[in-house]
């Protein structure tokens, strides 16, 4: 495969994160822990978008926080342009922080209310590139223009903006360090329906113009599919399926992926869901089911599923699934 020749920009290898509970009653036993992320691996190529989907608590934000060095891993590594990020200190660490920036769901909470747009957008270019005075002002205007805001807004405060405009501002700040990758954690979920398309299109345009890579996290499958090249499906901290974005709807293989897809309400009354919804709820990450983590809700589960954890196997180029029935009884 020619694909394998390309070094991925971001490599996540066997990443694991457990949050131990404070009080451990029995010191001699392993303290109980929330298993947020369990041995997750994936790669993001230069200029590509990797979408992570999964329900609440599946570990999406924890992975984002690990990649952003806001959290320490329990095990595993993340490599950026070949360099392992967790051991980074000093100059390489500062460089990594400017190369990988983030946009979160609620932009208002991440702005200091007393800072003007010119300061918000000028801060990082000053710190990272030493831009001052006229050069800094020009950079701020340029950033505003890139995200479709009038340069005249440089003197305004964040609270004078609408939700959609504030998200544009958050994107402008994220690209102000000339990053190579953006981590986007639910970037449009807080926005009005009519504004979401504007922001998604802006992200697509910036990716084209600046050659950015994205790690996109969202619970809305249609949005993730619209934007992503590759998609990873998480369930209780486990990556259960990974495939190119087109194959997600054309050839979903994992029973959870299928259930998730059929639960998405399609905005077309001629395509009403026929399948009965998935029963039950996501089990606690404190005490995840043994064997396949999905077996307690899986309509196809066999006795083996409760006992043995299915490995992630490659079923087609770039398509991986962790299910005992694949390949096998699950017809494509």
């Amino acid at each position: 495969m020619t694909q394998t020749a390309i070094t991925p920009l971001l490599e996540v290898n066997q990443l694991t994160k457990r949050f131990p509970l404070r009080r451990s009653l029995a010191l001699w036993r392993e303290p109980p822990a929330v298993r947020a992320v369990e041995q997750v691996s994936f790669q993001i190529n230069e200029g590509a978008t990797y979408g992570l989907v999964g329900e609440s608590g599946s570990g999406k934000s924890t992975i984002a926080r690990l990649v952003l060095l806001l959290e320490k891993p329990t095990a595993g590594e993340v490599r950026f342009a070949g360099e392992s990020i967790f051991p980074m200190r000093g100059r390489p660490l500062r460089a990594y922080r400017s190369r990988v920036q983030a946009v979160f769901q609620d932009p208002s909470s991440s702005f200091s209310p007393r800072m003007r747009v010119s300061e918000i957008l000028g801060e990082l270019p000053m710190l990272h590139q030493g831009l001052r005075g006229q050069a800094r002002r020009e950079r701020v205007s340029g950033l505003l223009e890139l995200v479709g805001l009038p340069p005249a807004y440089a003197g305004r405060f964040p609270h004078e903006f609408s939700g959609g405009q504030r998200q544009r501002l958050a994107i402008a700040r994220a690209i102000s360090t000339n990053p190579r990758m953006l981590v986007l954690d639910e970037p449009v979920s807080a926005l009005d329906v009519s504004i979401r398309a504007q922001v998604l299109n802006l992200l697509a345009d910036l990716q084209q113009q600046l050659g950015l890579s994205y790690l996109l996290i969202a619970h809305d499958l249609a949005i993730v599919q619209q934007v992503s090249d590759m998609i990873g499906v998480l369930y209780l901290g486990h990556l259960v399926e990974e495939c190119p974005s087109e194959e997600l709807t054309a050839q979903p293989l994992h029973p959870y992926t299928r259930a998730l897809l059929s639960a998405v309400p399609v905005p077309d009354p001629a395509r009403r869901a026929k399948a009965l919804p998935l029963q039950g709820e996501i089990p606690s990450a404190l005490d995840p089911p043994p064997g396949c983590v999905f077996h307690t809700r899986c309509p196809l589960a066999l006795p083996r599923c409760a006992a043995e954890e299915p490995p992630l196997i490659t079923v087609a180029p770039h398509h991986q699934v962790a299910c005992h029935l694949v390949p096998g009884q699950v017809s494509p």
């Binding site: 009519s194 398309a197 504007q198 809305d220 599919q225 309400p265 009354p269 919804p277 029963q279």
Partner: protein, 331 residues
């Protein structure tokens, strides 16, 4: 069939609910007309601030006072204009005829009483207890598919997941066998698989005569669940009709644009259609058609005068230049 039975369950006419704030008057609901039939699920869809919640609050006469006031209109439930009732009579209507489910069930459930107590209380208040209350509570919880109902009734609300809490709310809401259920974004905070379970529950509940007004900003939920839809923009219903008509042949440019801007699973597009501009400032909505600053077809007439609702077949819309019945906005 008597005339009263043929008349809609709920008929809302020219409803206007305004907020008198220091900064000015917010016309949260501004001349809204619609009906809900028995056994029908009507979707009320619109963006944040379009007035959806205030339509529901107006029906229950619970608009926050003193700033908020219903300034005109009629809300007729089975022949009775609710706006003419005393607060006392209205309290009976709220408990017995009209029930409501909100987005955040934790705010409506009492944290210090068990779920069983709260469902039991709802059953008792409405005088629907014959026989063993415990059995009735278990029955009510089973009806909304809460697993292990006989043991779970001893649990407190915080011990329930979001999806289960919403089912408890549904159990309480239907405990009085209401005629009309108002559901205000009940699944917005839920995961899709849990939302799908809740939508299934809604479908089961309306098999009877229950009429449901289902508020959401999710067009997908409307398409999957509802019989008819009301599209709200800046305090007005700009289009209404059966879901088939509105989704497949929208007449109002806003409806068409909204439908086109939503990504659809399995149909990746290079770019999404995008509605330009921002939702209007509630304190100073645009003159004329409220959508005109964002409408690709707006002309002088649209800027000058507000279009009145016009009906064509089973669709009603407010637009000077209605689309010709095809999804005709192109990205």
């Amino acid at each position: 069939m008597t005339a009263a039975e043929r008349a809609p369950l709920l008929q809302v006419r020219d409803l206007r609910t305004y907020f008198y704030t220091r900064a000015g008057v917010v016309k949260a609901v501004d001349g809204v007309d619609f009906a809900v039939q028995r056994g029908e699920i009507v979707g009320l869809v619109g963006e944040s601030g379009s007035g959806k919640s205030n339509v529901c609050l107006s029906i229950l006469n619970l608009v926050p006072k003193p700033a908020g006031r219903i300034v005109s209109g009629e809300i007729v439930l089975e022949g009775t204009n609710l706006l003419g009732l005393s607060e006392r009579a209205m309290r009976t209507v709220r408990g017995r005829d009209v029930a409501m489910i909100l987005q955040d069930p934790l705010s409506s459930l009492n944290p210090v009483f068990t779920v069983g107590d709260q469902v039991g209380e709802a059953l008792r208040v409405h005088g629907r207890v014959s026989g063993d209350l415990r059995e009735r509570v278990i029955g009510a919880l089973q009806k909304v598919h809460i697993p292990g109902a006989s043991t779970r009734l001893r649990d407190y609300p915080h011990q329930f997941s979001g999806g289960m809490r919403q089912r408890v709310m549904a159990a309480i809401a239907i405990s009085c066998a209401p005629k009309l259920l108002l559901a205000d974004e009940p699944t917005t905070a839920l995961d899709v698989t849990i939302q799908a379970q809740f939508l299934q529950l809604m479908r089961e509940l309306r098999e009877g005569d229950l009429g449901i007004l289902y508020v959401t900003h999710d067009l997908g939920v409307v398409a999957q669940l509802c019989d008819r839809v009301l599209v709200m923009y800046a305090g007005q219903i700009v289009e209404s009709g059966t879901v088939e008509q509105v989704f497949h042949a929208p007449r109002h440019p806003y409806t068409a644009a909204l439908i086109s801007s939503v990504p659809v699973l399995g149909a990746k597009r290079r770019r999404l259609y995008q509605i330009e501009g921002q939702p209007p400032n509630p304190l100073a909505p645009p003159a004329g058609c409220r959508f005109h600053p964002r409408c690709p077809q707006a002309d002088d007439q649209c800027r000058a005068a507000m279009p009145e609702p016009a009906t064509d077949g089973n669709v009603t819309y407010r637009c000077w230049h209605p689309l010709n019945g095809r999804l005709s906005v192109t990205p």
